[in-house]
């Protein structure tokens, strides 16, 4: 077996797009819309909804029909920060890592002018898949409408994914917008832009001399076509490059009123072309499969001439460059972060920690306190397991956060069970490390961000608490303390005890310590009521029991007031907490 080959699937995708018939269907609707009689005071943006057997088509068209110069004069961009208040429909595109983007002003104004039509348009979309289409600036409106739709509909099923097809539309936004969309392959997969090699409109907003540095950037997939055939590209650099390289100016393509007919003729032509052989002749004998795919594509859009024996350097460079960029994109997309692959490894690390926990339960100290006073070698291993787990979950939380609200939410629910388990198991170890350093106030000053997030997400999904079930009570010995910050509360309570007993503390300190201790009592009691705390806290050498000894002493001295009494102190003194582990403790 030789080394594995890689392929460029662009030629096949292009073929599929043509033979699927979606281009013809969309153009027909645009054609109908443009053929409608127009009133004098017609709104500049018109639309048409067409119900077809296999789909719903929404077409947009703008007035007046615009030429090259019209677009060129309207190349201004509006930034997302300006839009934030005045037109918040696209705020969902801003994420933590990519907060800013800009949209072409002319396109945006056209879209904004149909804002009140949006709910009606959306209501036309039913269970059938939807195509949103338009040519020239109508296509830009279609793109923005689709973008708006992405937030409104559930994209988790491919069946509901909208498809936006534009014909000869100018570019819509800058690199920020490109980044925001292409980060989510499903979003990017909703946009298909059809561009003829003779149409100047899609190219006017690109600087012809330096396409790579263009402020405007394309997103989605571009289907470029010439009379020889068509080709498909997804990498935004390649698209800019090829949009410029393929342009061939001609007199017949300057009349904006005829552009639509021009596209209709081309698509018709392509329909015939798909059942004909491609004419690619490879010059080099040992051309690799990926390069061969790129050459086939460049030939189809008229950049490489068939039977051309001597290729010039420019073309060779273009082939190499396109190949490199497309390959890079493929590799990038194949190596997406896939947390499910590693989840099982994480479970193994968790099993080791469980083991550790169990051992120190049997020794009567509990894993929290054992970790706090590391005395044996197995603690070193625990440090390693914990580190692996922390790295994994930090990354997971980070990924989820980077996603926009909706995508992020579904991502989170899938991992929440494992994440919660991890948080309850591992955070006590972080707390132990923190207080070992002599620091205070972990919850406000020391708590790692990913724990906060995991807890927040759980709160968002949790059902209202009910009374603990019988089996939950009986099995409390196997469960982890629900509040992963429990030990931080214990540490704070011990600090309060220390302050109260110390002669150096001020009156104010003593009063607030008393207050804190009463709060802590209530907190522990409510956890016990709900069977939400592990019975391991009652192990004789645990920090919690150390606290109790200190606190008991304080009460005995009467510092908390004469004949201080509470439900918790009663439980502790009477040792009835011993029934807790078997589920036999009822707290009124």
């Amino acid at each position: 077996m030789g080394p594995s080959q890689t392929f460029s699937s662009g030629p096949e995708l292009a073929s599929f797009l043509v033979s699927s018939g979606v281009l013809t269907q969309s153009l027909a609707t645009v054609h109908d819309l443009q053929g409608e009689i127009i009133n004098q005071n017609e709104h500049p943006v018109r639309h048409k909804v067409s119900q077809q057997p296999n789909c719903t088509i929404i077409a947009f068209s703008t007035l007046p029909a615009c030429g090259k110069d019209y677009i060129q004069q309207r190349g201004d961009l509006v930034s997302s920060s300006t839009l934030k208040k005045s037109f918040p429909l696209f705020n969902f595109l801003s994420t933590k890592t990519n907060p800013d983007f800009s949209i072409n002003k002319a396109a945006l104004e056209l879209f904004a002018s149909i804002r009140d039509r949006l709910p009606t348009l959306k209501s036309q979309i039913d269970s059938k898949p939807v195509i949103i289409t338009g040519n020239s600036l109508g296509g830009s409106v279609a793109s923005l409408f689709t973008l708006w739709l992405l937030e409104k509909i559930n994209l988790s099923s491919t069946k509901t994914r909208p498809l936006c097809i534009t014909f000869g539309s100018p570019l819509v936004g800058d690199d920020g917008l490109q980044e925001a969309i292409s980060k989510y392959p499903t979003w990017n997969s909703c946009f298909l832009h059809v561009v003829s090699n003779q149409d100047p409109i899609p190219r006017v907003l690109i600087s012809p001399h330096n396409p790579i540095d263009s402020i405007y950037k394309p997103f989605g997939t571009f289907l470029l076509h010439s009379e020889l055939g068509c080709a498909c590209f997804e990498d935004s650099q390649s698209i800019l490059d090829l949009l410029t390289a393929t342009y061939s100016e001609g007199p017949e393509n300057q009349n904006p009123n005829q552009v639509l007919e021009f596209y209709e003729a081309l698509v018709q032509h392509l329909n015939h072309k798909v059942i004909c052989k491609d004419a690619t002749q490879l010059v080099k004998r040992n051309t690799k499969s990926f390069e061969a795919g790129i050459i086939t594509q460049l030939e189809a859009i008229g950049l490489v001439r068939p039977q051309q024996q001597q290729r010039n350097n420019g073309i060779d460079n273009l082939i190499t460059r396109t190949e490199r960029q497309e390959k890079k994109l493929v590799i990038l997309k194949r190596h997406v972060f896939d947390p499910s692959k590693k989840l099982n490894d994480m479970k193994i690390n968790m099993a080791y920690l469980e083991w550790y926990k169990k051992r120190f339960k049997d020794k009567g100290i509990g894993y929290y306190d054992s970790y706090k006073n590391p005395s044996n070698l197995s603690d070193l291993n625990v440090v390693r397991y914990k580190k692996i787990l922390t790295c994994y979950w930090e990354e997971m939380v980070d990924e989820a956060e980077k996603k926009p609200q909706k995508e992020g939410a579904s991502f989170r629910t899938r991992w929440l069970f494992a994440g919660t388990n991890y948080r309850r198991m591992c955070e006590p170890l972080d707390i132990a490390e923190y207080y070992n350093k002599g620091l205070k106030d972990y919850i406000n000053q020391g708590r790692p961000k990913h724990y906060k997030q995991l807890e927040q997400w759980l709160k968002e999904t949790e059902k209202p608490a009910s009374n603990p079930s019988q089996s939950k009570k009986q099995n409390v010995a196997y469960s982890l303390t629900e509040d992963s910050c429990f030990w931080a509360h214990v540490e704070e309570a011990r600090i309060s005890c220390e302050l109260l007993s110390s002669r150096e503390s001020s009156i104010g300190e003593k009063e607030s310590s008393k207050h804190n201790l009463v709060e802590f009592e209530n907190y522990v009691l409510s956890l016990m009521k709900n069977y939400a705390v592990s019975p391991e806290i009652f192990l004789p050498r645990s920090s919690f029991m150390l606290w109790w000894k200190e606190y008991e002493e304080i009460i005995r001295k009467g510092i908390m007031g004469a004949a201080y009494y509470s439900t918790l102190t009663d439980l502790m003194k009477s040792r009835s907490y011993q029934n807790y582990a078997t589920g036999g403790l009822e707290i009124p």
């Binding site: 077996m1 030789g2 594995s4 080959q5 890689t6 392929f7 460029s8 699937s9 030629p11 096949e12 995708l13 073929s15 599929f16 797009l17 033979s19 699927s20 018939g21 979606v22 296999n54 789909c55 491919t158 069946k159 994914r161 498809l163 392959p185 499903t186 990017n188 997969s189 909703c190 298909l192 989605g220 997939t221 498909c232 997804e234 329909n271 015939h272 072309k273 798909v274 059942i275 004909c276 052989k277 002749q281 490879l282 051309t287 499969s289 061969a292 795919g293 493929v330 997309k333 099982n344 490894d345 479970k347 193994i348 099993a351 080791y352 083991w355 169990k358 939950k472 099995n475 196997y478």
Partner: protein, 626 residues
């Protein structure tokens, strides 16, 4: 006597093929009298030939839109035609299946005549032209299911008792699972399909009926007339061209969609657009022999490559050719006789496989690939077509590579299982506990170690299951006896631990019973593997012994909430099964230990029930000593 060598040790006498063709064509004209014909011969070494007639009507092809397929749900006739692990039945053309079941099997003579031939130890050849070929395919599969299940020792030489199916211009018959199944059972090698370069019929089912409805009737009238009288039939060029173009355009979308996947496409636009059009589910299987039209025969087996070739070999060179090729695409459906005559004289066959050396450029002349290159040129394959063939081969290679990489994990699986089988079991016994109960209590370091092993194994098996779900392992995988056995051992050993873990963490309270919501696919799959491998000996869904503990747990919960009486039936059923499993060593006797959850469950059952229970002896006799 000349013979056509199809490699993989299959050779067929060319005279036999010619005879099969003439019988297949003859069957059409006799179809009104009989749905099939049998032809024996005086010499006992000659095979018996069953030939099937075709049919030319819309509902004889498309019974229901858009592609006329139906799920095969005939577990008695076709138990193997399903994907085992993912538990999905194959799809097959509904009209063809119905014709086979009603007209052929419904005719009691057919079964009898086949049986007679088998008894006489004659080789049987099933043949058909056009849709008669699809009937022959189904007849052959029926025969294989009945007489030659995969449990007979592998024999790569066609023995007299193994059947042969030869078709000519046969339409596609089933979907990807259909094709997968035949390769899994190692049956694909019995099927040989001859296809003329331009013959439209093998390609028709790549188009939905809605797209070709207009021309369908005329084309089929023409084909029908021609099947009866070869000379006098003609069709309007306009209709022929439209038909050809529409079929080809649909074929193009199916084939380019498939090619994107072969090439590892990463652009999700492919998925988005796929929602808008119906894509033909059909997929080829068996050995394809493409007749180039100039005496060459191009042979290949890779189903993905065959699908690509079906489209690319009948592409146009230029648009101007269209009318001419369209006529040819219909005429060639009846051109096999002459073509085979020529080809067999030259016996100029070219194997495209292992598809390793496909030259990408049509002017490749270096000597080692010149033959292949000229064959590809004879089929008119462009650079793109060649890239698609390479991609099909690449996928096959990747599948083999995946299999090799999981084979390398076998020692890891064995090691982890050995720990559970020996160390862990022994450790439990010292404490008077079976694995299940020991794991559920989770008290000793061994229990934690066992948990780590359980998770390590889960990782490996889940990876295998994922690959199977995406069909990324060779088709034969789920039939490989070593993996079936390993899977069964694994399931019996480790599933109880998963169940213990499930009920220990009360997952049944948040979700549902283990069997409903909690059972991992790695156990569902491996159970089905075994049930399929032993399908002659055991009924389906009968080897759930590894779920024993889940049933005990659920019955415990039910009895404690509803009492014994309403649950009695389920209790009796479980007891019957336990008796069977214990006697057949499918269930370890440690379930009967004094401290076992099962024993405790038993103790809580009403006394009167226990006195009459079928397992009362088991429960008493074993007592304390394991």
């Amino acid at each position: 006597m000349a013979s056509l060598n199809l490699e993989e040790n299959i050779e067929i006498d060319t005279e036999l093929i010619k005879k099969a063709y003439s019988l297949a064509v003859k069957a059409h004209s006799k179809s009104s009298e009989k749905a099939y014909n049998v032809e024996g011969s005086r010499r006992s070494s000659d095979p018996i030939i069953f030939s099937f007639s075709g049919c030319w009507s819309e509902n004889g092809w498309y019974d229901g839109e858009p592609f006329g397929v139906t799920e095969i749900n005939l577990p008695l006739l076709f138990p193997s035609l399903r994907s085992i692990g993912v538990n999905e039945n194959a799809l097959v053309n509904k009209a063809f299946l119905q014709r086979f079941v009603d007209k052929i099997l419904g005719n009691s003579n057919f079964d009898r005549e086949v049986q007679k031939a088998v008894k006489e130890n004659k080789q049987i050849l099933f043949t058909g032209h056009s849709s008669g070929g699809s009937i022959a395919n189904l007849a052959t599969i029926w025969f294989l299911e009945k007489y030659l299940r995969s449990d007979s020792p592998d024999n790569y030489k066609i023995s007299p008792s193994s059947p042969l199916c030869v078709t000519f211009g046969c339409p596609l018959t089933g979907n990807h699972i259909f094709s997968h199944t035949l390769r899994r059972e190692n049956w694909a090698r019995y099927f040989i399909h001859f296809v003329m370069r331009y013959d439209i019929v093998p390609r028709i089912l790549l188009a939905p009926i809605s797209s070709i409805k207009l021309e369908f009737q005329k084309v089929f009238e023409f084909l029908n007339a021609k099947s009866v009288n070869l000379a006098h039939a003609s069709i309007d060029t306009f209709d022929a061209s439209n038909f050809y173009m529409k079929v080809m355009k649909n074929a193009s979308s199916v084939v380019s969609h498939a090619a994107c996947n072969l090439m590892g496409n990463t652009n999700l636009l492919l998925e988005t657009v796929s929602n808008f059009i119906p894509l033909s589910p059909y997929k080829p299987f068996g050995t394809y022999v493409f007749c180039t039209g100039n005496g060459k025969l191009v042979i290949l087996r890779n189903p993905d490559a065959v699908l690509q070739l079906l489209f690319y070999s009948s592409q146009l060179c230029t648009e101007e050719e269209c009318a001419d090729i369209a006529q040819r695409s219909l005429q060639q459906h009846f051109g096999y006789e002459n073509e085979l005559q020529d080809s067999f004289q030259m016996l100029n066959e070219v194997y495209l496989e292992p598809l390793e050396q496909i030259p990408l450029s049509s002017d490749s002349t270096s000597s080692d690939i010149a033959t292949i290159n000229s064959a590809l040129n004879d089929l008119g394959l462009s650079t793109r077509a060649r890239l698609c063939l390479c991609a099909a081969r690449e996928l096959e290679k990747r599948k083999i590579g995946n299999k090799e990489s999981i084979d390398l994990k076998k020692p890891d699986i064995e090691r982890a299982m050995k720990f559970l089988e020996e160390d862990y079991q022994l450790n439990g016994r010292h404490r008077g506990l079976g694995c299940y109960d020991a794991f559920k209590l989770h008290e000793t370091p061994k229990d934690f170690e066992a948990n780590v092993k359980r998770l390590e194994l889960a990782g490996i098996w889940d990876e295998i299951i994922e690959m199977l779900k995406r069909y990324e392992l060779p088709d034969t995988f789920e039939g490989l006896i070593d993996w079936v056995l390993l899977g069964t051992r694994y399931r019996r050993l480790v599933e109880p631990l998963d169940i213990a873990n499930y009920y220990r963490h009360l997952k049944n309270e948040d979700t549902k019973a283990y069997m409903i919501r909690g059972r991992p696919k790695r156990y569902r799959f491996t159970q089905r593997w075994r049930e399929h491998a032993d399908r002659n000996k055991i009924p389906a869904e009968s080897s759930g012994e590894s779920c024993f503990w889940a049933e005990v747990e659920e019955l415990r919960i039910k009895i404690s909430s509803q009492g014994f009486e309403p649950i009695k039936k389920e209790v009796l059923q479980l007891e019957d099964q336990v008796l069977d499993w214990i006697n057949n060593n499918k269930l370890d006797r440690d379930v009967l230990l004094e401290k076992s959850t099962f024993k405790k469950w038993w103790e809580d059952l009403p006394r009167e029930h226990k006195l009459t229970s079928c397992i009362k002896d088991l429960m008493v006799v074993v007592g304390r000593s394991p």
